[in-house]
Each structure stands twice: as structure tokens, then as C-alpha cells.
Symmetry: C2
Subunit: 611 residues, 2 copies
């Protein structure tokens, strides 16, 4: 059910109902209502005095005596009011005489009780009223009454419940809770620390239950899942939360295809019916293909404009910078074709796109207006022969009024630049009213065969894990691990939805010697910090693998919400603050004493504190 | 299924199976197996290469080709082995010639693959092998392979899943995740602190989602639940964990009876069938009755030995200390009767009981051997008339060979002492082989009508909340709140199982003025610290109430486990340490820098660190 549809439901419920209301309601002006019809299998009226919700009454109820509980949404001169709860609205008539109105449904009041009063609210809760993010966060308990938040939180609850049914009831997974007070992991720079009562010793809040879930497999749990709270301290980053939730899964004796089929089944089973069916298996693409065609490891496959390699066309063209690029190792010329670009984009748009490529990637991009059967309208026209012109048009499948963006240089860099241009152009075109990406479409994609290691940016001679050090090498590349580790592909897989990464996982290393080699020899890390894991792998660890889905992001995409903050009941601001309670807050030195820590005030602040 | 029964299942599976095994297994000696037959609705073999679990094969499978994955439990000369997984054992024959054995079931190996090797384990994992708690914790991943841990964790997962079905699918509750990085609550001395990147500002890990769940009710969520991770820093306490889990519930428009019926239904629905049915509604008892009859707020009602008030018998008896006690305000004489005490307890037992009363409560206790139709055998005999003797026997329903423990003094203190004696005596009697408390019995009990406030121990003129400051006063006592708050009963309720508190909750204050009065006038707390909650109550808060069940304790009782550490996958030691990973651990000053804190070393340690 989309918001729009939900609102229509709401207004259609404003027709009159004929019933008797005989007990408590709660007075307050606001605007909360929900939910999908699927939920009607649940009894919302058990254990309380009400007999029906405000969204439930229909002609079939005529003649019954009902008890409703809710908030006064609207009232007029004590004659008439609209009562609201989480499920909808009901019109209430406070009878003035014995004459029955001629409308077909209404609730006639027998007794009514005001359960609480309500001050003037800081903002009116109407769906069409725009309020600032800061105000919404400060009065989150009022914002939660909005149709959107009610819908999003209930959708989240239902979807997670279906996932649990699938994992626990259908496939024998065990829901195991793992600790959040743990030890710092090697390189865990983004882990919050929690001082203990032992001087100098700290717990850390883990970024994921990775080590624990592997230890559970060593412990013979066979199939583990958890809706796990995870923590990551990234300072200020938009649309990131210091605490977030992942659907965390691990299985023994499984391979990559097994995990992929599991997740496809999981999403299919839990997918809300109002979002239409999803088809499985999901398409799959290697990391190399994703980079070459979409210039990213998370391709949005809802629209075309793929990157095309046109090096062959340009190999003999006498343009200095092109020749320069093509003759280097990994040198290429690539392009994307913007359909109908001439009609929707202006020169200043192209200038801005090219400026963005220059500032973000230090890369020149050319824009060409290629007209089939006509000559090029670009700085390149004089260098291309008629044949080359026609080859280019054919390679890029150029139609009339299309515009081509072209870049020359090292393969990976050119891909990244054009991948970026592709998304920027799509945003531009959509801002002009074109629809490139169907908002009701859900395009899932597996991205596989990632490199196991990457060259460190600050020191390319050293390697770091592309994902994490527990990822197993690709079976075809295992022997390379000991000779040319940089060339090894991994058994890591990412799940992408509409261009967002919503999950990632891998088959893990289950051999202690291989794990030690990766840590010590390839990554140059101290294996002592993971001695408990290495020890565990020696104790008959089964082959195992798993995945984690980012629940906040997934629900955000399913709900069509603008931000993950709209699918979290009490989110933090982008600075990591709770604007309602003002957390984090100052505490006294005495309160820190049991933890043997003191605040190291920055000099300026220490100065200010003296005064 | 009890452990004992499970083990029988295990050994009965050692009979031979006749099948073909054609792929991976994993080599390792240990001993993990589970689980209840209920689970067979789940598919444990989806997404992996195996076709059956080791506990699954029966005569009906004869002739089929199967693939098993597991650990080698036992092997003999490469001819024969026992393969184990989480569900059971299967005997495997590695054929030496073509002759079929005459046994009725076995698996004949076609192909086999050793997936990992295994070093000599630090301890053999057999159920009858006692290993130290420290060793179990250090090698928790091996301990998890034990039948008990597999059973407990799977039972926990299943029971929680059923609770979710009941709440979410049957009764329309919404599963909402609330933050764990929050603000310090007033008086939250047991809250872990988490430094933020803003100098001097700290998050706290909350002891429960109390404030958030009330705010969700203000936000119109109507019915909330969460399997919530909670944190409490109590330093070293046996059988407490720094992080624990509660089934957290809140409802709008509900009263005490509504919550009680909800929880009874919840437990009945999720109760494991092998534990026998539980009957509802649960009996209920006021706090005053619980104190008077059992000397505790969590009575174990599986056995008698209730406290009897015998003040009337003693009112005219000329014994100095008795008269002293009876004539004071709240002065009483009370007793418990130990059935067959003469046969099972010796003089030194009584001396030890009386010593314990003296040292713990500074209270004298007398023991009397009352023989019906004979005279008292006690220091009191000379003071009691024949009538008084007979009255006492009648009041206490004394039978031959019973022993009476008697104490005189202030009502509450005498109750607490005798309540304590009652439990100590029961433990003593059971250590002598008597069964007072049926280990298969589950006695639930509601304890209600608690006082709303208690006099502070250190300053009895001041009041503190008996539970928490959001608890609503009992409807009959509301007017007393403003005149004699110490006399007000609350709408708090505790759920007790076999003498353990497994849950507690209350109807909350939903009126902002009343909440402010309680905080400011009664408790003398700064209401500013809870300004967001007070503000929220003004915005049309509905009447609401809820409860939290301690999941670890509940599962521990259901599983019959000796400690909550046996129902938690990775528990901390009683000093709050993870003995496997050695958390909490030292971290460098550089790692603390982003959080603007430094360690305040205690002097001695600082000295040691200098060297």
C-alpha cells in the first residue's frame, strides 16, 4: 500500500458510521493511522476494553454496540467528532435528539470518557504539513503518529516476522543472541569503546557478530541467524546511524549458491504483497563486469546507459590525449550514450557534468552529439573518418538526439568516472521529468568474484582485505594465494537492490593454517589478537559461510522512504545525537570514577571550563 | 525432553543403518546433538549438499542414497565410524568386501571427504565428563557442542519464536527496535557509559527500554514488543550478566488484568509441550500476603511450610522477650512448621539455621519439637500452659516428629527471617533426600498491590520508588498520593515462577501533572532530566501499561539449567569477563584520543606502569 493509497483509504472512511460508543477515548489532536489489510488475522482488540478499531467498522457492523479508544482528530461544536487510532478514523455523532440521521453509517455516543488532555502541539500532524527534520526528531513521539511512520514501523515489524518464520520455522535456523560487549577487533577503528570497572580495560561494541557466528559454526549450531544490533562510530556521515540492525546468517556445509538461494527464498517469502512479486533466482554479475559496464560494484540495473568500450574505434585516431591513454597499460576509451540528451540537457548541464568529473576524479570527459548520417558535432569531428564515425555510432547504438559522454584513460578510473556520470545524468534527466527508473521496480542483483585483497591506497605495495580477513579465496584461485595473492578472487558476494548494497557475505576460511597465512603473511597483522578464532578453527571447524542484510536500508527501499531515519523509531541525527533526550550528554567526574577514566578536555574547552 | 531422555535417544541411535554415504563430512571428535521432534516441520537440509541429518535416518530410508555431513564421534580401524551432527548419530560402515552385514540399518560409504582436521581437544566432550566453568568458558565453541547447550539454545530460539507469533501474528503487536545508545537516566548508577566524539559527552547503555516504550505509546503505536538487549553494570554478582535480554511489552488503553491475561496466554502458547501444560489464569497474591505467609515478594508455592502468626497464643505468656516483641507496634510471634523435621534434621542443623538468622538478620529463632498430647521439648515448655500448648499445635497443624521454628519481633523482620528459614530448611531437607519441590512442577504466581514508595534505608524520612518513578498509583489510593504517599499501593505486578521473579511491570502514570508531582514533590528529583517524557505526557498520552519478562531466567527455569550462563551462547564470567577472547582488554591511549578520555590509573597501578 503506497502512502497515497493509504490516504485515500483514510478519506473514504470519513463517510458516516451508525453504532453506539460506550467508553473511554483519549482526547488529543493529531494524525496517526495505518495499516495493511493483511494484518487482520491478528486480534487488535484482545486484552483491552475496546471492541473495534477506528479503521475496522463497516456496514456489516450496523446495530452492534461498540467500544472505541482513540484520539480526537476533529470536532465541531460538541455535536460531531472524528476519532482516530492507529488503524483509521471513525465519525462519531453525539446525539442531540432522538431523530436518526439519514446517513448510512455513524457511531452514536452512549457514554464517553476523556482520558487525558492535550496541550497545543508544537506542530500539526497532517501529512501535507512540512516540518523540519530537527523538529520531527525533537518531538519524535508526535512524528511517530504520522501515517508514514506508522506504516514504515509496522511494515518493518511484519517483514522481519516473516523472515523469522522462513528461517526458524521453515529451514531450521536457530536464533542465537551474541554479546555486544566484546573485545576490540584488529583495525577496529570505528568501534565504540565501553570502559569497564577494571582500570584501563575496555569492552568494544562490535560492528557485527562476525567472530561469534563463525564460532557458533565451530560449536555445531549448524544454522544460525540473528536480527543483530551492530555499532559503527563513523563520526558525522549523512544517512548512517551509530547503531543499526542486520539480518545476520551463518550456515555450515554450505557453498555460495546455497546462501544465494536461501536469501532469494527469504526475500520472496517476506516480501510485502502490495509491492508485487519478485522473481528468483536473482541475476548475477562478476565484480569485473559490474565495473566495466556500470562503473560501480553496486549497479542500478533499472536503466541502461551502460559503459561501452570504444578503444578499438579510437586506436588509430590521431588525437594526442587519446593515443596517450590507449597506449598505456590498462589504457582505454569508453563512453556512455544519453538517450534524448539533446532534448533534455543543455550545454551548461554538460559543463557541470564535466566539471564534476574533473573535480572528483581529475578526469577529462568529452560530450559528443552524434547524429547518424551526419557529421560529429564535437571537438573530435575533424579527427574521425566517416568509417570511424559510423563505427562509433554502431558501437554505442546512437539514435537521433542522443548525446555521448566519452573518456580516455586507465580502465578502472574511466569506468568509475563514467559510472558516476551515468548516475548524475540519470538524476538530471529525472529532474527534467523523464522517468528512467521505475519507482515500483525492484531490481535485485548478485555481484560476485570480488578480489580477495586490494592494494592499500597509502602504500600500494601492501595488501588489505577487500572485505574482511575471514573471507575464503575462490576455489579456482586457491593456489595463487601463496604466489600472487593480489590476483586471487574471493568467495564474497554482495546483494544489490536498485543500486544500493543491501547485503554482503562470503564463504569463510575454515582451515586454521590458511587463516593464519592470510593474517600473518598477506595482511601483516598480529595473529595473536585473533588467537581464539585460530584456536577454534583447529578444533574441527566445518566449512561454513554466511551473509548479513542491512535491515534499515532494505526496509527503507521497500517502504520507498527518503532516508533510513524514516524506518527507525528513534534515530540519531547525522551528528549522532538524539535530539529528543539530548544524548550524548555531560556526566559528572564522580560518575566516571568507577570506570577509571577522566575527560581529556581539548585545550580551548578546558580554558572555557575554568571560567 | 529431559537431558536423560535425550541421551537415551542418542544411544538407541547406535543401532546400524543401511544406506550409502557419498559426500563431505567433517572430521573432529566431540559430542553435539539435539533436538526435539517438534522441529521436524523445518527443513534442515535445504540449501546444502546433505540429504539427511544424522539423527533422522530410520528403517523407512532403507535403500536410499544419502549424503551426510558431520563430525566423527568415534572410529575403529577405518572400518566403522559414528558420525555426529546437531541432531544425532549415525553408524557408518566403510565396506571392506561386497558382503552386506546382517544388521538391519547402516550407511555404507560410497565416497567420503575429510573437510577439516582436528587437533587434540582441550577436553573430551562427553556429557558425563565434568569440566571446570573456566575451561568451559575459555573453549566455549567446544562447550556449545554438548547436548545440554545445543538443547538449551534451540529451546530458547523456539520459545522466543512462539512468543513472537503470539504477539505479532495473533495479537497485533509491533516489534519496534529502540536505541541502546541513550542518555543517562536519573539515578542510573548501574549504567555503562560510552564516550562520544564530543568532548565530555557520553551515551549510556540503558537498563531497559522503559522511556522509549512509553514514548511509543504516546506516538500511537498501540501495542509494542521487543526482545530487548539490556545492560546493567553491577560489578561482580553471581549469576548476573552485564548484558541480558528481556521480552519487553507495552500496550495502550489496557489495565492490570489485561496485561496479566496477555502474559498468561503468551506463556501458554510458547510453553514447550515436553514440559507439560500450564493452567491459566495464574493465582494472584498481594505483596502483603506474600510477605506474611512466605516472608518474601517471590514466594515459592511448590511447597507448604507457610509462616503462621501465633501472637494470640503468646500474648499472655510470661516470657520477657516475647512480651517485649508483642507489645511493640507491629510486634508479632510467628512460626513455621517443618514436617518430619525430627527424622531428617539434627541439632547441629538447627544450630546452623539459628546462627544464619542471627548473622543475616540479627534475629533470635527458637526451635521447638511439639509432640501432640505430650509436653513441649524446648526452653519454652515451662512457660506454656497445657491449653496454650494445644492451641499452638492446632494453629501450626503440628504432626508427630514435626519441628517448629519460632521468632518474635517486628512483623516485617520476622516474616523475612522465617521466609529465609523456610527456604534454607527446604534446601537442607532436599539435601537429605526428601523431595519437597517437584522438579517437573511449574508454579506461576502474580504478586500485586506493592507499595508505590519505600522509605530510604539510609534516611527513612525520604521516599524512593519501590520499582520506578513511572508506576501509577493503585486507583483506590490515588487521593492518598497527595496526603500520605507512603501508604499508597501501586499498580505494579510481578510474575513469579517457582520462587524466582521472572517478570515485572505496571500500569504507568499517563498524566503529566501527576508524573511531575511524583518526581518533584515525592521523590525530590530534578524533573528537568526527564523533561522529554513530561512533555510527551502533555501531548495526549493514552493510558498505558506493560511488563518485561527476564528471558534468560525464564529459559533457565524451563530448561532446568543450573545457571543462566547455560542458556546464553557466550556469557560473561561473574566478574564480567569473556574468558574466550579476554574482553574487556587494554587499549592504547591513541585509541582513546577520538573520545577525549584517558585512563585514571589507580596510584599503585600507575606506579607499576611507570616501570
Amino acid at each position: 500500500m503506497s502512502f497515497r493509497h493509504g490516504l485515500r483509504l483514510l478519506y473514504s472512511q470519513l463517510s458516516l458510521f451508525s453504532r453506539e460508543l460506550n467508553r473511554p477515548w483519549c482526547r488529543c489532536v493529531s494524525n496517526s493511522l495505518a495499516l495493511s489489510s493483511e494484518k487482520r488475522a491478528s486480534d487488535f482488540n484482545s486484552f483491552v476494553a475496546r471492541t473495534n478499531t477506528c479503521g475496522e467498522l463497516r456496514s456489516a457492523h450496523v446495530g452492534q454496540e461498540v467500544t472505541l479508544c482513540g484520539w480526537i482528530q476533529y470536532q465541531r461544536q460538541g455535536l460531531f467528532l472524528v476519532l482516530r487510532d492507529f488503524e483509521g478514523l471513525t465519525q462519531i455523532i453525539i446525539p442531540q435528539d432522538e431523530r436518526m440521521p439519514t446517513g448510512d453509517i455513524e457511531v452514536k455516543v452512549k457514554t464517553a470518557e476523556v482520558l487525558n488532555s492535550c496541550k497545543k502541539l508544537p506542530f500539526e500532524i497532517k501529512d501535507f504539513i512540512k516540518k523540519s527534520e530537527a523538529l520531527r526528531m525533537q518531538y519524535r513521539y508526535l512524528d511517530l503518529r504520522s501515517f508514514q511512520m506508522q506504516h514504515n514501523l509496522r511494515l518493518r515489524s511484519q517483514m522481519v516476522m516473516k523472515m523469522r518464520e522462513y528461517l526458524c520455522n521453515l529451514h531450521g535456523f536457530v536464533d542465537v543472541e551474541t554479546p555486544t560487549l566484546f573485545k576490540r577487533t584488529p583495525g577496529g577503528a570505528k568501534e565504540f569503546v565501553v570502559p569497564s570497572r577494571e582500570p584501563g580495560r575496555f569492552y568494544c561494541l562490535p560492528q557485527s557478530p562476525q567472530q561469534f557466528k563463525q564460532l557458533l559454526m565451530v560449536g555445531g549450531l549448524d544454522r544460525y541467524f540473528q536480527v543483530a544490533r551492530c555499532y559503527r562510530d563513523e563520526g558525522s556521515k549523512p544517512d548512517r546511524q551509530p547503531e543499526f540492525t542486520q539480518i545476520d546468517i551463518e550456515m555450515s556445509f554450505v557453498d555460495q549458491a546455497g546462501i544465494q538461494r536461501l536469501i532469494e527464498g527469504l526475500l520472496q517469502y517476506s516480501w510485502p504483497s502490495e509491492r508485487g512479486p519478485i522473481t528468483t533466482p536473482f541475476p548475477s554479475m562478476s565484480y569485473a563486469e559490474a565495473l566495466a559496464e556500470y562503473g560501480t560494484d553496486k549497479p542500478d540495473t533499472r536503466f541502461g546507459m551502460k559503459i561501452i568500450d570504444v578503444s578499438d574505434v579510437f586506436r588509430s585516431v590521431e588525437i594526442g590525449f587519446v593515443q596517450n591513454a590507449v597506449n598505456k597499460p590498462q589504457g582505454t576509451v569508453k563512453a556512455i550514450c544519453i538517450p534524448q540528451g539533446v532534448r533534455h540537457l543543455q550545454n551548461k548541464d554538460f559543463e557541470s557534468l564535466k566539471e564534476s568529473a574533473k573535480s572528483q576524479f581529475n578526469q577529462e570527459v568529452l560530450h559528443l552529439i552524434l547524429k547518424p548520417y551526419e557529421s560529429l558535432k564535437s571537438p573530435l569531428s575533424k579527427f574521425l573518418s566517416v568509417e570511424q564515425h559510423s563505427e562509433l555510432i554502431q558501437a554505442l547504438k546512437v539514435q537521433a538526439d542522443d548525446v555521448v559522454l566519452l573518456a580516455a584513460g586507465e580502465h578502472e578510473k574511466v569506468c568509475l568516472v563514467l559510472g558516476n556520470m551515468r548516475l548524475e545524468t540519470a538524476n538530471l534527466l529525472e529532474s527534467r521529468g523523464l522517468v528512467l527508473r521505475d519507482p515500483t521496480a525492484f531490481h535485485f542483483l548478485w555481484v560476485v568474484d570480488f578480489p580477495l585483497f586490494l592494494h592499500k591506497e597509502e602504500n600500494p605495495a601492501e595488501l588489505e582485505s577487500a572485505h574482511h580477513p575471514f573471507t575464503a579465496p575462490h576455489p579456482s584461485d586457491t593456489s595463487l594465494l601463496y604466489s600472487e595473492p593480489a590476483k586471487v578472487r574471493s568467495q564474497h558476494y554482495d546483494l544489490v537492490l536498485n543500486g544500493s548494497e543491501i547485503g554482503g557475505g562470503s564463504i569463510r576460511i575454515h582451515n586454521a593454517e590458511q587463516q593464519r597465512f592470510v593474517l600473518e603473511t598477506v595482511l601483516k597483522e598480529d595473529p595473536e589478537l585473533l588467537s581464539h578464532l585460530l584456536e577454534a578453527l583447529k578444533c574441527g571447524a566445518p566449512p561454513h559461510g554466511g551473509i548479513a542484510l542491512g535491515l534499515d536500508r532494505l526496509i527503507c527501499l521497500v517502504a520507498g522512504a527518503p532516508s533510513i531515519r524514516d524506518v527507525i523509531a528513534f534515530p540519531k541525527s547525522f551528528k549522532g545525537r538524539d535530539l529528543m533526550s539530548n544524548a550524548p550528554d555531560y556526566i559528572t567526574p564522580e560518575e566516571l570514577e568507577p570506570y577509571h577514566i577522566q575527560v581529556a578536555w581539548p585545550a580551548a574547552e578546558a580554558e572555557a571550563n575554568k571560567n
